[in-house]
């Protein structure tokens, strides 16, 4: 998605500029300052914390088992037993929402962790060692990026089989090349710095230099990009499930709940509204975090005036 394209485009510069900044001011202090700077930041932080609490505490907070159907209470509005009403087979929407938020966060974090880890590793290798290895890795990344957004993921899931694990895998594959490009670009500029030459002159092993000196200097843009990708991977997973290509119906995945629930849009709109709000707020929280991180770590957006 565009924000990620932006992140990968400006991320490299952001990282370099950050380093310059980190030497004078402290990185930590600017991070802390970023959050409560605006009303938007405060609201964002509140939403994110509330969503994380809902995800973490789903087991305690949920009044019912999210899979428990009670056919006598189908499509009911909010009541004392079912605070957000029930769905088409009488499952508690609040309970399903809480577990759904947990699932959505989980998918976002796991896809970024897998795709990011592999992508960062390949990007480091390509940027640092260059040569044939770099050509191979970068061409492969180009190839994956040549598929229009979402199409690669859809086809991958279609081939692997439609379930949540495969959706996570497919989204991770889609995520990976973006990290490869970003990290390689940053490595290329870090590699040319004196401290790398210095470490090499001291006879440090190449992999040690990569780990001790190059990787830490790539972290800022990686962190910024990860928050963006976490948010959009949450959206992508929900979209796949909505199309029936991700988590399958009994699962309280928010996209799947919407995909099946849309049949009741006219008769019982709350069945659609509850999971829709869940996705919106969850992704919004992560996006707020991303904005705050970018403000703190990317001087181009931080010190604009």
């Amino acid at each position: 998605m565009p924000s990620s394209i932006l992140a990968s485009g400006s991320g490299a510069e952001a990282g370099l500029a950050l380093e310059r900044r980190a030497s004078s001011a402290g990185r930590r202090s600017s991070l802390l300052r970023a959050f409560p700077r605006s009303v938007r930041g405060t609201i964002g932080a509140a939403i994110l914390l509330a969503m994380l609490a809902a995800a973490a505490g789903a087991g305690w907070l949920a009044p019912h088992d999210p899979a428990q159907a009670s056919l006598r209470h189908r499509l009911e509005g909010p009541s004392r037993t079912f605070p957000l009403g029930t769905d088409w087979i009488g499952r508690c929407l609040l309970s399903r929402l809480l577990y759904g938020i947990r699932l959505t966060f989980l998918v976002g974090v796991v896809t970024v962790a897998i795709g990011g880890a592999v992508g960062v590793l390949l990007g480091l290798l390509a940027g640092y060692f260059g040569g044939l290895l770099e050509t191979l890795i970068m061409r492969a990344a180009d190839l994956l990026l040549a598929f229009p957004y979402f199409l690669l993921t859809i086809v991958l899931v279609a081939v692997l089989g439609a379930n949540l694990t495969n959706a996570i895998l497919a989204i991770a594959v889609w995520t990976m090349p973006h990290y490869v490009r970003l990290v390689r670009a940053v490595v290329l500029s870090v590699k040319a710095r004196e401290f790398v030459d210095g470490a090499r002159a001291l006879g440090r092993p190449e992999l040690g230099i990569l780990r001790r000196h190059v990787l830490p200097n790539c972290l800022a843009p990686i962190i910024v990009q990860s928050s963006t990708f976490c948010a959009q991977n949450m959206l992508m997973a929900a979209s796949l499930s909505f199309l029936g290509l991700g988590a399958q119906p009994p699962s309280p995945e928010l996209g799947a709940m919407l995909g099946t629930g849309r049949a009741y849009l006219r008769a019982a709109p709350h069945v659609v509204a509850v999971p829709a709000l869940g996705i919106l707020l969850g992704v919004l929280g992560v996006n707020c975090l991303g904005d705050a991180l970018r403000d703190a770590l990317d001087p181009r957006s931080g010190a604009r005036s």
């Binding site: 948010a231 659609v272 904005d291």
Partner: protein, 309 residues
Amino acid sequence: MGIGIYVLKRLAGMGILLLGITFIVFGMMYLAPGDVTMMLVPNIPSTEQSEILRKEFGLDQPLVVRYARFLSGLAHGQLGTSWIDRRPVLPQVLDALGYTLRLASLALAGSLLVGFLAGIAAAVRYRSVVDEAVMSACLLGISLPVFVTGLLLIYVFAYRFGWFPTSGAGSWRHLALPAVTLGSFLVAYNARMMRAAMLEVLGQEYIRTARAKGLGELVVLGRHALRNALVPMVTVVGLQVGLLLGGSVITETIFAYPGIGQLVVSAISARDTPVVQGAVLVTSAGFILVNLIVDLSYAFIDPRIRLGS
């Protein structure tokens, strides 16, 4: 580097990329588990029926032979025939692509207009209530999934007010809700980008010079700032083509709009491999081609940019 050589090099690279894409898609569909013929017959097919179908589709041949056949068909401008209705794939794909292009261009135009205006307003009134409002709306916009927007619009404008049909294609009334859905997906990005580009330009020396000369604010903004801020936006528009194609998959599914996205999704669930391959190939080709055009136009608009360096 001459522009002709550059274009030739890029076109060659594009050919290689497309070849890679065919290989990946072909390989993936080959590796897909399960017996394809099971999906293509209403009842469970007998062994003989399966055999006949496999022969007809050439599935009894090794992968290399099938891939070579596919490529030679491609060289003759053919994408094979559908396994479901036995119709040639290419006309189906082009037909669907026409629908998608109509929807996507409308959505893109609308999102550019609204996004640019909002972005400019936010940049000009930097750190004001307007800026804060636009940026908050953008944050909300990029967090809103396409299917939620779509369902919301259906509920309000189709069910509640009854102004627009919920699904189908044919008239402008069918296009309205899908176009707004798809367009709203991009407005936030356009506004953010435009704001950033505008802020960058407004900080330049020549803007101060223009103001010092005593030019009116509208002239400064319109003639000096906006024109320079639009240069990076060309790239943004190019990148959005990929997004539009992706977003249209969901939009078209919600509104049962017969575009390429719906074609892919329905072909996938029917395991109609030739249609999936054809649709993916054609959309990817379009995506790569647009990016090439964007790179070229970039150099055209801004003479400071040299191609191929």
